[in-house]
Assembly symmetry: C2
Homo-oligomer: 194 residues x 2
DNA sequence: AGCTGCATGTAACCTGTTACATGATTAT
DNA sequence: ATAATCATGTAACAGGTTACATGCAGCT
């Protein structure tokens, strides 16, 4: 089984979901398109890691609601204690940054400023989600607090990191300015410069 | 052309490299294995984006040193001004965290502590690289300062983010402790709690 | 004698994205 | 009208990893 499979297991371990719902739900854990999720759900169901029942709805199409089985839980438990592989990060922004930031000052600025606004946007929309989670929390009992708290810590992690990247962007923006004004006389390569 | 191709172009735009060297060099920009890089270099050379000359060495095997062509530079310049796609992040740690952090306290702690030590390790080794870059810088003229400074800002970015993640890990570690002692009485879902 | 680093390449496989396909309901 | 949301699925393709394959130099 691949990592997406385990992501699905850990999501369903909290609450049963349809494939459609999982697309949203997995966004924080391990983003995937529906075209990848649906076939995997079928495979996992055939392996006995999941079960589903078809739930008919009024005013909208019926759905397959998947739940984790005991076998599924065991599989997840075994995997969870193995040490995780290195995170995979691929970011076009870094390449573009690397390419333009000295040779093309205007585009460098634009690139960084755009990045800042995208990050700020994400931070605010994530904060909204957190507020939403709070409200839902208040209407529920204590038992459910723990279930969604995992998402909360992941959201706050992302926000922390995004905010830190915004600081970095502003630092870079300052460097670009300095570069122009001070004729760039051998910068001291020190972290403390920040 | 794919993003790896552009990453190669931007790397070679700084200085000519062999495929073998590119594996290391691209690690910060867009990590790739040699099995992906070698065939791409051949394709790009055939398209006229790159040229190479075979350089024989003493005491080690000869290598193909690739350089960017004017066509290659044009291709890169066009791509660089387009707004970058969203970064791709996939991290098993997050799934494992999500799964264990409430149900299995011991493993949750271990998971986070391991993460901290890996991050700390990376931060220190990156700082060493920066020191190395400084020393190399001092022996070179002003012209080359700019060439490696791009790497410097990317390294410092990563270090900043990794350090921030370490803080987050410590915050989570505290939450786990609290959970045990305070019977977890409905935590207030506020960011300010940090 | 065996491991690490330098150096290049191919083949098989897995993972993930884009596009094709369908269809009802609700909001603008 | 037409776009968006809910809902599921497949097929073709692109991107990336693992494994196979070779070979020399230098170190332990």
């Amino acid at each position: 089984m691949n990592t997406l499979g385990y992501a699905i297991l850990s999501a369903l371990d909290r609450k049963p979901c349809s494939g459609y719902q999982l697309v949203d739900y997995l966004e924080v854990l391990w983003p995937a398109k529906h075209s990848q999720i649906y076939p995997l759900l079928t495979k996992m169901e055939q392996k006995g890691l999941l079960v589903y029942k078809y739930v008919e709805q009024i005013g909208r199409p019926g759905k397959k609601v998947f739940s984790i089985t005991d076998t599924g839980k065991e599989t997840l438990d075994k995997w969870v204690v193995e040490s995780p592989t290195d995170p995979i990060i691929r970011d076009e922004f870094l390449i573009k940054m690397y390419s333009v930031w000295l040779t093309d000052e205007d585009n460098a600025k634009k690139l960084v400023q755009d990045r800042i606004s995208i990050l700020e946007q994400k931070v605010t929309s994530r904060e909204k989600k957190i507020v939403k989670m709070e409200k839902e929390q208040e209407s529920k009992g204590l038992d459910n607090v723990s279930k969604d708290f995992g998402r909360y810590i992941l959201y706050s992690r992302r926000n922390l990191l995004d905010k830190e990247e915004i600081s970095w962007c502003n630092w870079v923006l300052n460097l670009v300015k300095k570069k122009t004004s001070e004729t760039f006389d051998r910068p001291s390569f020190h972290l403390s410069e920040k």
